[in-house]
């Protein structure tokens, strides 16, 4: 009786271990076999095209892929060669309105007429937010609310109804439906949680209201304007290029990612991966998910240093825990690696004080205030770009002093470009998201 159970445990464990090793070895796991056969039978025409594109990315394994490259293929639905090429061009493009402040500059002239939306202020603005669940979004949200306060003082904005989807697609879809049905909005700003899932909800909103989409996109061009800085491809390319340039003789790279499957992050990693592959002498020894957590990052980096003796460079798809990665080197008494972080203040501080060979590609938080300004422009009948591409500066050794602000809190993102605002810098020292009022009488 007892033996039978022991066998059951053992066989279960073995079965599972088998499945795991099959997956880990890069072979198709059982489920995949079952599902791929039908997939090949009748792919829709456009999908066939997409597939060939994707295979290029996923399977053109170069002579020197790192150990972990196979396991870390870019999720295919997020990659586009055209957008990648375009992003790299954008990085060297001069804005069409260079005299405007950076958060109002545009790299691509495609104005649409908005005179049909023109109305008398004050405007009631609604905002469906994917979440305030990470520090990038906290900085962005505070910057946005301060912009609203300024516009309120000018008499341009009345209510600003903020609805937080707490990182759930499902909740955001219903939230948008509520906002559209509620009839309190003159314009709707949406920061989608994910692109594909939110598309129908955004389409529904477009029929009723002028809409502004920013940060992540949606798969429809119905919004009045879709604005963001150049985006994920440029972010990934920027950091990876820096590593390649600083390791002329090649070396080991550890790629740290926060989670799989989010389009902007997949694009960052996809672009970096492409750069590393093309360099030829870069070996990506690991692609790890750190859940955006400092302690986990430090543990992962220590483990990799243990395993390979030294890691020459660290690339991150989101630089939140960058300092934890560098501390792993500091605590072991090792020289710092070539480092790719983000414009978070604790990283800039560490970089400045410890003199690291580093770069910070950015996804600037100033786009949050641009979204509000765009909403107001639309209701004033001013033309806006249908696809508004904002510049995406990066922090390098040369301009570090410009962006490093010792008084700011550790998790403040430098590229908020809020220096010209009324409450600068006190509000950003506090970064308190809970003090704002939606409805004013």
């Amino acid at each position: 009786m007892f033996k039978k159970k022991l066998y059951m445990v053992l066989s279960l464990v073995m079965l599972a271990a088998f499945v795991l090793s099959a997956c880990g070895g890069g072979e198709a796991p059982a489920e995949e076999v079952a599902v791929e056969a039908p997939a090949e039978e009748a792919p829709a025409a456009e999908e066939a095209e997409a597939e060939t594109e994707e295979e290029e990315v996923a399977e053109e394994a170069p002579a020197n892929p790192g150990l972990a490259m196979d396991a870390a293929a870019v999720a295919m639905q997020f990659w586009s060669d055209d957008l990648y090429e375009e992003s790299i061009i954008f990085m060297d493009t001069e804005p069409i309105n260079p005299d405007a402040p950076v958060y109002l500059q545009s790299l691509l002239d495609n104005k649409v007429d908005t005179s049909q939306y023109k109305m008398e202020p004050p405007f009631d603005i609604c905002f469906s937010n994917a979440g305030v669940n990470n520090q990038w979004r906290v900085t962005g949200y505070v910057t946005m609310r301060e912009q609203v306060e300024q516009l309120r003082a000018e008499g341009l904005v009345g209510n600003f109804i903020h609805v937080d989807a707490e990182g759930s697609d499902e909740k955001q879809i219903t939230d948008i439906s509520d906002l559209v049905a509620g009839g309190q909005c003159d314009v709707l700003i949406i920061s989608p949680n994910t692109s594909e899932a939110l598309t129908p909800a955004v389409e529904q909103a477009c029929e009723v209201l002028p809409t502004v989409v920013f940060d992540r996109g949606v798969l429809t061009d119905c919004p009045t304007t879709f604005l963001k800085t150049i985006g994920g491809y440029a972010f990934g390319y920027d950091g990876a290029k820096f590593i390649v340039d600083n390791l002329p003789d090649g070396g080991n790279v550890l790629a740290l990612r926060i989670l799989p499957g989010v389009d902007v992050l997949e694009q960052r990693w996809g672009a970096a991966r492409k750069v590393f592959e093309e360099a030829g002498n870069i070996s990506v020894v690991g692609v790890e998910f750190n859940d955006y957590s400092g302690p986990k990052t430090k543990t992962i980096v220590s483990d990799y240093i243990d395993r390979f003796g030294y890691i020459d460079a660290i690339w991150m798809d989101a630089g939140g825990p960058a300092v934890a990665a560098l501390e792993a080197y500091e605590d072991l008494g090792l020289d710092f690696p070539v480092m790719v972080g983000e414009d978070q203040m604790d990283y800039l501080k560490y970089w400045k004080e410890m003199d690291v060979t580093a770069i910070a590609p950015t996804f600037p938080t100033f786009q949050w205030r641009t979204a509000v300004l765009a909403a107001v422009m639309i209701l004033q009948g001013e033309p806006v770009d249908a696809r508004w591409v904002l510049p995406q500066p990066h922090v390098t050794q040369e301009n570090l002093d410009q962006y490093y602000l010792p008084d700011m809190p550790p998790l403040y993102y430098a590229l908020s470009s809020a220096e010209d605002m009324d409450n600068w810098p006190d509000v950003w020292k506090e970064l308190d998201t809970t003090v704002y009022k939606d409805v004013i009488e």
Partner: protein, 331 residues
């Protein structure tokens, strides 16, 4: 988990099942309170707007379906923490299998239900045959599913066809299909629990596994079937979510916190963690409370952090309102 037997009249009462669970007082209080706040501070936006009212129900569909399944396992004195990842697996597999092609819909649906049944079977077997505490067993299977899913996600892609999205967006007459499905699942759950032999056995086994065994019930089989039912509701919930989202992603389950929220709404609804008592109507009320809170807090523009606090307090207070008179020690 418990050694007390269930009094005969209680079984009889739960057999009738239509007795109004006390959680409905909570639901009414919170709804009325919410609506008053809404009228005072948000110009009565909720009450005056049929779409927002309907959306309270639509918000509850995904959680409601899986919570019905959770009610089954919890009546059987078990628990299922793997549902969130079963939902993710379903969402990802469905879009992968359908590839936007309407002809593949039936095949895909059948396959994901089979996968769900297998997950439920494995959970049930580990709990009953290997005697693993269900909390750990399903935490473990959840981790395993999550690992495989996240590890292979890069190889997945696809979407569901437009026709399938009707499930999430279309209406049958004035009532959205999704609400009809939720009601159907609740009624079916109530029927199984109150009018079938299996339901009666489940209450018996959940009340006391030892007693159930002594009175000749097939305790293991009952628990296993409850686990299978629970996984199947998770699959249905996953299908609904993917019909709303258009394509599946591995984070839809954990991001919706369907594991802990389904447990929370079930206990708020009056199902005992120690098994043997409870029902799906109570669970439905628990789910609706969460839906109402979401809507009211949205309309009032209250901070999400406070909402999290409020939810935590509701969970504790609701369960305390049932349990504090109990003579048995809790642990």
């Amino acid at each position: 988990m418990t050694t007390e037997s269930i009094p005969a009249d209680e079984i009889k009462r739960s057999k009738l099942g239509i007795r109004i669970p006390p959680v409905y007082y909570f639901l009414v209080i919170i709804t009325v309170g919410g609506l008053i706040l809404d009228i005072l501070f948000a110009k009565g936006n909720i009450i005056s707007n049929p779409t927002i009212l309907t959306n309270i129900l639509i918000r509850s569909v995904a959680l409601g379906i899986v919570a019905v399944g959770q009610t089954f396992v919890m009546i059987g004195a078990s628990i299922d923490l793997s549902v969130a990842y079963t939902i993710s697996l379903t969402a990802v597999m469905t879009s992968q299998l359908m590839q936007g092609d309407p002809e593949r819909v039936p095949m895909a649906i059948i396959l994901v239900f089979v996968i769900g049944a297998v997950i439920g079977l494995v959970n049930g077997l580990i709990v009953t045959k290997l005697n693993v505490n269900p909390f750990i067993a399903t935490l473990g299977t959840g981790l395993i599913i999550a690992g495989i899913l996240n590890g292979t996600f890069a190889n997945f892609k696809g979407s569901v066809p437009k026709s399938f999205r009707a499930l999430g967006y279309e209406s049958l007459g004035p009532i959205p299909i999704s609400i009809i499905i939720l009601i159907a699942v609740v009624v079916l759950g109530w029927f199984i629990l109150s009018w079938t032999k299996f339901g009666a056995h489940l209450y018996g086994v959940g009340g006391s596994r030892e007693l159930g065994r002594l009175s000749g019930l097939r305790t293991s089989r009952t628990i296993i079937v409850a686990h299978i039912i629970c996984s199947l509701t998770a699959v249905l919930s996953g299908l609904f979510i993917v019909s709303r989202l258009g394509s599946g992603a591995p984070w839809v389950g954990p991001d919706g916190i369907y594991d802990l929220e389904s447990v929370a709404t079930t206990v708020i609804g009056g199902t005992a963690l120690s098994g043997g008592r409870g029902g799906v109507f109570g669970t439905l009320a628990g789910v609706l409370i969460f839906g109402v809170i979401d809507t009211v807090f949205n309309q009032l523009g209250v901070d999400t952090y406070l909402k999290t606090v409020f939810r935590g307090a509701i969970i504790i207070l609701a369960v305390a309102s049932y349990s504090f008179r109990s003579k048995r020690e809790a642990a």
